[in-house]
């Protein structure tokens, strides 16, 4: 148990170290741009590593893209222009938040539809399971009646 906890703590610290390590490299004229840079590199996915954002990746391509984002910010480009720059080259793949389009519709409405379905089923099952005890009761009554009738029959003979 203690070992598990220790490993968890190690993980937590190593993660924070990793994201810190990318913070020192890029200088900006003002703090607003710097904040924008950190937000942007947090927002986009690294095309090479796939399970990490640009900030957390040390892959060469992630470094290049961070450099490009840095350049674009210095050139005075807006966040939207930077997103267009990235997605026109690397596609939706690089966006953690997918664009709302016909083929991505399932991602946007899927969870809500699923949630509604689950509610529907849970409610449905509750109704049927509530009905069951009553049925049992009725069954018991019938059984009791039959038992007394049987008893009577046996006694009569």
């Amino acid at each position: 148990m203690k070992i598990k906890l220790f490993i968890c703590i190690l993980f937590i610290f190593s993660l924070s170290l990793q994201s810190e390590s990318t913070k020192e490299v890029y200088g900006f004229a003002n703090e607003i741009d710097q904040e924008r840079f950190y937000t942007l590199v947090d927002t986009y996915r690294c095309p090479k590593c796939q399970s990490s954002n640009l900030a957390g990746s040390n892959a060469p391509i992630a470094k290049d893209l961070k450099r490009e984002i840095h350049r674009l910010i210095e050139e005075g480009k807006t966040d939207e222009q930077i997103e267009v720059f990235l997605s026109s080259r690397y596609g939706d793949f690089i966006l953690y938040k997918p664009a709302l389009r016909k083929n991505t519709l399932i991602l946007w409405i899927g969870p809500f539809a699923l949630f509604l379905l689950i509610i529907f089923f849970v409610v449905g099952w509750n109704i049927t399971s509530k009905r069951q005890p009553k049925d049992l009761e009725a069954e018991n009554i019938v059984k009791a009646i039959e038992r007394t009738r049987l008893k009577k029959l046996v006694e009569d003979e």
Binding site: R67, S87, Y90
Partner: protein, 178 residues
């Protein structure tokens, strides 16, 4: 009846998986080629061997291949024999994009194992590579004589890939010409 409703969630789950697969899987293969049927990006970089400035116009006289490679890329060595074969057997011109590499190392390697390229473009910072949406090496692009990207292949170029992806695209291009 009750039995059937028990299987309904499973059926719905399978439906969901199938739905996600058909909607998003197709998208995924597109993702890797957002630049398909788009203009090859403009660039101005130096030639690997003599430092001469190369632009887009130097590539698109004929349908040509652009192969992204580097000395640090092991898979590039795997496809190298096939590129040599292609150079000898096919009329298509192959250009190299030397990606994030050291000029001397790259030249040495080509000298040692053979150079399948007309010439290589030296892209130390990966500028053109970013414009092409490259995220690793090797990658191979087929560019038509209008300078439009027709095929993109990520990974090792093999005989099989060549037959499946590139040959049909090339014959389509020839039909267009006629």
């Amino acid at each position: 009846m009750n039995r059937l409703t028990h299987y309904l969630p499973l059926a719905l789950f399978i439906l969901l998986i199938l739905g996600l697969f058909t909607f998003l899987h197709r998208e995924e293969s597109d993702l890797r080629s957002v630049l398909l049927n788009k203009d090859f990006p403009n660039f101005s970089l130096s030639r690997l061997d003599n430092g001469e400035i190369i632009t887009k116009d130097d590539l698109i006289e004929l349908p040509s291949l652009l192969n992204v490679w580097a000395t640090w890329c092991v898979a590039c060595l795997v496809e190298h024999p096939f590129l040599m074969e292609l150079r000898n057997e096919s009329r298509i011109k192959i250009y190299g994009l030397n990606y994030k590499d050291d000029r001397n190392k790259a030249l040495k390697l080509l000298h040692k194992i053979g150079d399948p390229y007309e010439f290589s473009i030296f892209d130390k910072e990966g500028k053109l590579a970013i414009d092409l949406g490259v995220y690793g090496a090797p990658e191979t692009f087929l560019i038509d004589n209008q300078g439009i990207i027709r095929v993109r292949h990520v990974g090792v170029l093999t005989q099989e890939v060549w037959e499946q992806k590139f040959k049909s695209a090339l014959s389509e291009l020839k039909e267009d010409e006629n």
